[in-house]
């Protein structure tokens, strides 16, 4: 049985989350059996180097090329994926659970009358049937779902699934004819944050600050530590609600759920809704002056102390070593 993967591009570059999805599709196609292919489908103005995806596991990639597909067009991209489903008849369609994928996958599900499991963290195929697990309640519980209809639509949480390299598949690029439906919505502009910062949900290391910082002016300490670690800055709900930091930085149940390799919580006591958003991180470090703070109960490594002393010292000592060596 074949597996279809939506290949996401931005500014003519294939995004790494799509390589993660291809990696999982490769494993899934093997366990589904029947010698099915891994087929990519990409909507773009022109080919963003899709042939290179053979090494990431794609047997072939269908390219829906249209000038209107340079930027995200929900209705048009959904039409492209639906056309690919019609052509490939896959058992499953995989998307990255990125901001684009989470917008697109439900549209395709509605178009096809198919079930969608969003933001999954593992997929299993037993006897040709797919089971998906996904965090719910921001990670406080794990739901396992099955698909009564075919194809099964799944979006995959970024940074959870490993890409494959050197797969040596053909990655043949084939045109897919799609006429995008007229849509009233149009992306007028894409504004990139200065410095091209990695998004919280896709970052390997996150350093978050909380109320212990006492004021927005002290977030410099967090930014400096993040810079020394090559990390992205996060924040607790308390400081976002206080207006110290933008909501896009909030980690927790009404913010973003993150699973980086390393999560450093500074001056964050560990409210349930915050822990829900970060407890699937591989390694958690907590810095807090209160030894009884709940954050220490889930941290791998804790440092009890005044963050105003500890954090600058940590930043200085990290600068002396090459953290990416």
């Amino acid at each position: 049985m074949s597996v279809l993967v939506f290949i996401e591009q931005r500014e003519g570059q294939v995004r790494s989350v799509s390589r993660e999805a291809l990696g999982e599709a490769t494993r899934l196609a093997a366990s589904l059996g029947g010698g099915g292919e891994v087929v990519g489908v990409c909507a773009a103005a022109s080919d963003p180097g899709l042939a290179a995806l053979g090494d990431a596991g794609a047997d072939r990639v269908l390219l829906a090329a249209h000038p209107g597909f340079a930027r995200y067009d929900g209705a048009g991209y959904a039409a492209a994926v639906a056309a690919a489903v019609e052509a490939v008849k896959p058992a499953a369609v995989l998307f990255a659970a990125s901001s684009l994928g989470r917008d697109l996958a439900p549209r395709v599900a509605a178009k096809l009358g198919a079930g969608l499991a969003a933001d999954c963290t593992s997929l299993t195929a037993t006897a040709g049937a797919l089971t998906a697990t996904r965090p719910v309640y921001a990670g406080k519980a794990i739901q396992t779902v099955r698909f009564p209809k075919s194809p099964a639509l799944v979006s995959l949480r970024p940074k959870v699934f490993a890409p494959v390299t050197g797969a040596g598949k053909r990655g043949a690029v084939e045109p897919l004819a799609v006429e995008p439906p007229a849509s009233g919505a149009r992306v007028r502009e894409v504004v990139t944050q200065s410095g091209g910062k990695v998004d919280l949900t896709e970052s390997e290391i996150v350093v978050s600050g909380g109320r212990g910082l006492k004021g927005p002016e002290h977030f410099k300490l967090i930014e400096d530590l993040a810079a020394a670690l090559g990390a992205t800055v996060g924040a607790s709900r308390a400081v976002v609600d206080a207006g110290w930091r933008p909501h896009s930085e909030q980690v927790g149940q009404t913010g973003k759920t993150v699973s980086p390799k390393l999560y450093v919580a500074v001056g964050i006591s560990g409210a349930i809704q915050h822990l829900a958003g970060m407890s699937s991180s591989r390694c958690i470090v907590a810095i807090n002056k209160d030894p009884d703070a709940p954050i220490f109960k889930i941290a791998d490594y804790g440092l009890v102390g005044d963050l105003f002393e500890v954090v600058p010292a940590l930043t200085e000592q990290l600068k002396k070593i090459d953290v990416h060596a």
Binding site: A78, T144, R146, V190, Q253, V304
Partner: protein, 249 residues
Amino acid sequence: MIQVVCIKQVADSETRVKVAADGRSLDPAGVTWILNPYDEFALEQALRLREAEGSGEVVVLSLGGAGIQPTLRNALAMGADRAIHLEADGAPDALAVANALAAEIRPLSPAIVWCGRQAIDDDAAAVGPMLGELLGLPCVTSVSKFERSGDSVVVERDIEGGREVVETTLPAVITTDKGLNEPRYASLKGIMAAKKKPIDAKPAALGGPYLEVASLALPAARSAGRIVGQGVEGVPELIRVLREEAKLL
């Protein structure tokens, strides 16, 4: 101008999740139920738009069991004009819910259908874009800035490492993110007025199911870590364990 706001009653974010005896759902014992926080931004924006226009109707639409009536009443107290309760037990999947909502919304021909970005219980973030597709309307998700200009609106949404500025014609489906506005609290006057506002209850036309929940389980508990030190003196040890044990630096 009619605006429809799709809302959901959810367990409060401070809830400690316990699995019910069926092994597939949340044990409701002791849970505090609230209006989904992302839906509050949707309702607030609809109310502001009605106030700016000086006329129009804001209809709140929700699907669920009899227990959701207090949340509908709360939305009416915030200022919605009337409520529609689509009755369904359990937790139908997103597409089943979207089917039922779309069937109810279609004859109302609203200018804007508002939804929260996602419900903080199942975190699917799917009903909004599904409604766009089912209703044949443009849809913009996770909007944190909204500006009306005549028959179209300009909105902004966060994407990885930046934001998109999107222009859409109306009617449209818009899902709302944190940062869009500061939702109001229901006033005493609003609470009194809400008692007289109508809630129209009818069975939900779901279709499906498109997804089956096999189980709900608690995640594996993290093994307890350790305190590596106190104050500045603990910093070298922290760096050492991160390098040598966790192999992260």
